[in-house]
């Protein structure tokens, strides 16, 4: 089974979110980047489990600069076999998906995994775009995946429930909670990752379709109003009359 896992960097959850240059650019000052949790915990680990069960090869790919080699080494330490970095600034989802699809189209992957979204841009766009660019079926927000030969069975979130579906490979899957459990790389994995191949390829020319004009941070909440624990009638009154939510 040949599996491609798409990896994105994301700021560590505890990072301070601030913007510079007139609120047009994310301020990376002091920001620690990690592998986007959905890509790492669910997409990558499920891919490794499949490889461990039936054999195969897990390749990871990202679109980014040399600064992102650190997160790629982390993903290799967790167990991926080979890494590819498209050496470009991931301008928007369409640009990123086009680069990944361009690499994947001649490689014959059976499964292409993404996380359900990144925790920085929350767009949930790249997986569906890769599927369209490669003319493959796309299973979004999958929480379970079982292989049955050339067929895979998946559970995916739908409005108000979970759907059990079947599809033949090759297929693109976006992975959500439930697919797998987080793995901590061990020392052997970290040592092995140093010598695993990390290939850097040039981007193809693609015009992005969207851009961010500017950013704002939400206005700080006014101080919390503390209500006496013995006076719940007052809380209900405030929720009705002041907050107008009940």
């Amino acid at each position: 089974m040949k599996i491609l896992v798409c990896i994105s960097k994301a700021p560590d959850t505890t990072s301070k979110i601030a913007f510079s240059q007139g609120n047009t650019v994310f301020d990376e000052n002091g920001v620690q980047y990690i592998v986007n949790p959905y890509d790492e915990w669910y997409a990558l680990v499920r891919a490794l489990e499949i490889k461990e069960t039936i054999g195969g090869e897990v390749t990871i790919i990202t679109v980014g600069s040399a600064n992102d080699d650190a997160i790629m080494r982390k993903a290799l330490a967790i167990g991926a076999d080979a890494a590819v970095r498209v050496d470009a600034d991931p301008k928007d989802a369409y640009f990123t998906a086009s680069q990944i699809a361009d690499f994947a189209k001649t490689e014959g992957f059976d499964l292409i995994f993404t996380g359900k979204e990144t925790i920085n841009f929350n767009g949930s766009q790249v997986g569906g775009m890769i599927a369209e660019l490669l003319d493959l079926p796309f299973v979004s927000l999958a929480s379970k995946l079982d292989l049955k030969g050339e067929t895979i069975q998946l559970e995916r979130e739908i409005a108000g429930g979970v759907e059990l579906i079947e599809v033949n490979i090759p297929v693109v899957v976006s992975c959500a909670k439930g697919m797998a459990e987080q793995r901590i790389p061990n020392m052997r994995g970290i040592m092995a990752a140093r010598t695993k191949p990390l290939k850097v390829i040039s981007p193809t020319a693609v015009e992005e379709l969207t851009s961010y004009v500017s950013f704002v941070t939400p206005a700080a909440k006014s101080t919390v109003k503390i209500i006496d624990a013995s006076n719940m009638d007052e809380l209900v009154r405030l929720l009705h009359q002041e907050a107008k939510v009940i």
Partner: protein, 313 residues
């Protein structure tokens, strides 16, 4: 004109009428395309929210993104739409990116407001810790609207409904079965949510959470540790790696308010925190706080809600 895709398999959800309301604010010419089982009558009612007409393709039954995107893209072209609108729900997330590629049109996913004067559209970024303004470079725009971002508005009367055959080809994804979780209100749709964490000490104590939720007409949710140790089902887990929700009211009981949890709920309009620890970080994100023991506070709050509901009816 604006082409809106809605799913009508489970009746007309709140997010559907919000999406049509949004479309009507962009244009007077709103064509709705839908698939699924909703009756002609139900679909005609969409006119009240601003739809000029509704087209329904009954041949597509599931949420196959290849079929749906072909149907929507070909309609967008034949109608010369300048905007294609989705709800940013599970179907929108799967279909809108494909339509974006097919039409080479920029996608704004998770819009939370109408376009600004400069045409850019506000979305949540960094899991709700900031907002960004997205500029679309193409003439045709694809937008998916985050549920509960704008209130639905009545604006018109019943509209014509046309049965069509969009010739969208076969589905490569076969649906075997659908499981619906227990509980009446799906969490992402809920306007009121009662959520509890490890402070509840054990799954046997969830009765009082359910009582409060039922008195309010709210959905129940939980924190990650509670889902991970199996006290509550995973679909109730809200937070960065679970479900992200933005209800009108979020009541957090016995949840400390770790940053990963806040990332999933910070879009809530009003947050109430009940915690024994006055230093719990969640109080910093709360509008109202109660410092006290849930086992004492929650039954009292439930009684107060019941009293309010009965005097208000």
């Amino acid at each position: 004109m604006v082409l809106v895709y809605i799913s009508s398999n489970n009746g007309i959800a709140k997010s559907v009428v919000e999406t049509i309301t949004y479309a009507r604010k962009l244009s007077n010419d709103v064509v709705v395309i839908t698939t699924g089982a909703a009756s002609q009558d139900d679909l005609a009612q969409l006119g009240k929210y601003g739809a000029s007409s509704v087209k329904v393709d009954r041949a597509i039954v599931g949420g196959d993104s290849q079929q749906l995107s072909r149907l929507i893209s070909s309609l967008a072209l034949s109608l010369s739409a300048d905007t294609v609108l989705f709800s940013h729900d599970v179907i929108g997330k799967a279909v809108a990116p494909r339509v974006s590629v097919q039409l080479k049109a920029g996608l704004v996913s998770g819009a939370i407001a109408l376009p600004e004067e400069n045409g850019s559209i506000k979305v949540n970024v960094f899991s709700g810790k900031a907002m960004g303004f997205v500029h679309v470079k193409s003439a045709l725009k694809i937008i998916s609207l985050l549920p509960n971002s704008i209130p639905a508005e009545l604006n018109g009367s019943n509209c014509p409904v046309e049965e069509i055959n969009g010739d969208a080809g076969a589905a490569l994804i076969k649906v075997i079965s659908v499981k619906r979780p227990e509980g009446d209100i799906p969490l992402p749709e809920a306007e009121l949510v009662v959520s509890a964490g490890r402070g509840m000490k054990g799954p046997e104590n969830w009765g009082m959470i359910e009582n409060l939720a039922s008195a309010l007409g709210a959905a129940t949710a939980c924190s990650r540790p509670v889902a991970d140790i199996g006290w509550r089902p995973h679909h109730e887990h809200v937070g960065q790696t679970g479900v992200a929700i933005r209800p009108n009211l979020y009541i957090a009981i016995g949840i400390s308010g770790a940053i990963q949890h806040l990332a999933g709920v910070n879009g809530s309009k009003v947050i109430v925190v009940v915690n024994t620890d006055s230093e719990a970080p969640f109080f910093k994100a709360a509008d109202y706080g109660v410092i006290g023991d849930a086992f004492d506070v929650i039954p009292k709050l439930t009684e107060a809600v019941k009293k309010f509901k009965s005097s208000n009816n």
